[in-house]
């Protein structure tokens, strides 16, 4: 029999860690499982400027480290392991990890999302060899080189601004003719001499032998195909939700996001969701934190109702 918990939180990003603090403060025996690094994808960013309560930019990894320690302060156990199965059996939840399993009365599922890829020729082969999903991690490799950022949202523009400190020139390549990022980021990008924009382009392929050499692009309006040399390509085209493990217990939309309401409950008793797995989320740390808190409070209400 695996170790039993009151609550298992799956995912150690902003939503999971915020939930953990509240579960711990409810004196619930709580386990958090994170498959990669605690803090979630946001730790890859160099700064956050829009998290309320901080007049100056903050380092996301430090914020997440504080949340990690804050949850530990209330007795929460945090483990680095990948969940392979979530199953409801005998009024309990069973969670399988590598070489072990646990049971819990309730689950808060905050497993976040993973990077979206184009799934075009050369992308997989050149990932880590010029094709990257982490500008903060990899920018120094491209000192005085020409790089591309693919996307038009907040992540794309934040990446472009960061890369402009290292690269000789940064092209933001977007499939539409306007950006959807925060206006303040758009303003900074447009004023940065090292950043250029290419509109209406879709990626056909990534080219190179052993390392990225060029990106083949198609203009969506003219259908003209062009190949432009780049040393680096940073993908920022969104994410896909990690909901495969709970798909039988929740309502999913056509893109795999969980459809729920402010209760953050699901059609399965004792299964709550939070963060970027939810339909309509705007991928902001502040929102994920709020959802984590909401899920934890509703989960506590559910557990109290069983007693």
């Amino acid at each position: 029999m695996g170790k039993s918990w009151d609550i298992i939180i799956i995912g150690g990003g902003p939503a999971g860690l915020a939930a953990a603090i509240y579960c711990g403060r409810s004196l619930r025996k709580t386990l958090v499982l994170e498959k990669q690094v605690f803090g979630g994808q946001i730790v890859n960013a160099d700064i956050i400027e829009n998290y309320p309560g901080f007049a100056e930019p903050i380092v996301p990894a430090e914020l997440m480290d504080q949340m990690f320690k804050q949850s530990q302060r209330y007795g929460v156990v945090l483990e680095n392991d990948e969940v392979s199965m979530v199953k409801s059996e005998n009024n309990l939840w069973r969670v399988d990890v590598y070489k072990n399993f646990f049971t819990a009365k309730a689950i808060i599922y905050a497993a976040g999302s993973t990077h979206q890829f184009f799934n075009v020729k050369g992308e997989k082969e050149l990932l880590g060899r010029g094709v990257s999903v982490c500008a903060t991690c990899d920018a120094p490799f491209f000192l005085n080189r020409k790089v591309a950022v693919l996307g038009g949202g907040d992540t794309a523009l934040v990446d472009a601004l960061h890369l402009a400190k290292f690269a000789s020139v940064v092209y933001v390549i977007h499939r539409r003719d306007q950006l959807r990022a925060e206006k303040i980021l758009q303003d900074r990008v447009l004023k940065n001499d090292k950043i250029k924009l290419l509109w209406d382009r879709e990626v056909v392929s990534f080219q190179g032998d052993q390392k990225l050499e060029a990106i083949e692009l198609r203009n969506k309006k003219t259908a003209v195909v062009e190949t432009i040399t780049f040393a680096g390509a940073f993908l920022a085209i969104g994410t896909i939700p990690n909901t495969e493990l709970i798909k039988n217990y929740v309502n999913l939309d056509d893109k795999g996001y969980v459809v729920t309401d402010i209760s953050l409950s699901t059609k399965a008793k004792g299964l709550f969701v939070a963060g970027e797995v939810i339909k309509g989320n705007r991928r902001q740390v502040a929102i994920s934190v709020g959802m984590g808190v909401q899920a934890a409070l509703n989960c506590e209400e559910y557990l109290a109702s069983l007693e």
């Binding site: 994170e34 498959k35 990669q36 690094v37 605690f38 803090g39 730790v43 890859n44 160099d46 996301p60 990894a61 680095n80 392991d81 990948e82 990890v97 590598y98 070489k99 990932l127 880590g128 060899r129 010029g130 990257s132 999903v133 982490c134 903060t136 991690c137 990899d138 120094p140 490799f141 052993q210 390392k211 990225l212 680096g232």
Partner: protein
């Protein structure tokens, strides 16, 4: 207890001799996921000290080794056996993932 060994452009090849599987962790001080992965790698180094050597290479200070293996993303882990790269993990990985990959390579 085996520790992670800091390797550099000058001494990297000296670690390639022998029968042990080698895990090379390419990192940089600015790479937060690299820092967060370190406890997991220390655990691997300790648990598999008989058969495995774990090296870390700071890419900022050792461009030759990074270029030689075409490393352009951090974190990157290379798994080397008999002098040949058997596989790699790109991006942050948890200790179980690293262990699973190691067992496949060995």
């Amino acid at each position: 207890m085996a520790e992670i060994i800091s390797a550099n452009d000058g001494n990297f090849d000296s670690f390639m001799n022998g029968v042990k599987t080698i895990i090379v962790d390419f990192w940089a001080p600015t790479c937060i996921p690299c820092k967060l992965m370190e406890p997991g790698l220390e655990k691997i180094a300790a648990n598999y000290q008989e058969n495995v050597k774990v090296l870390k290479v700071n890419v900022n200070e050792n461009p030759l080794t990074s270029s030689r293996f075409f490393v352009r993303t951090l974190p990157t882990l290379l798994f080397i056996k008999n002098g040949l790269v058997k596989t790699q993990i790109i991006g942050a990985a948890n200790p179980s993932q690293i262990e699973k990959t190691l067992l496949e390579v060995q």
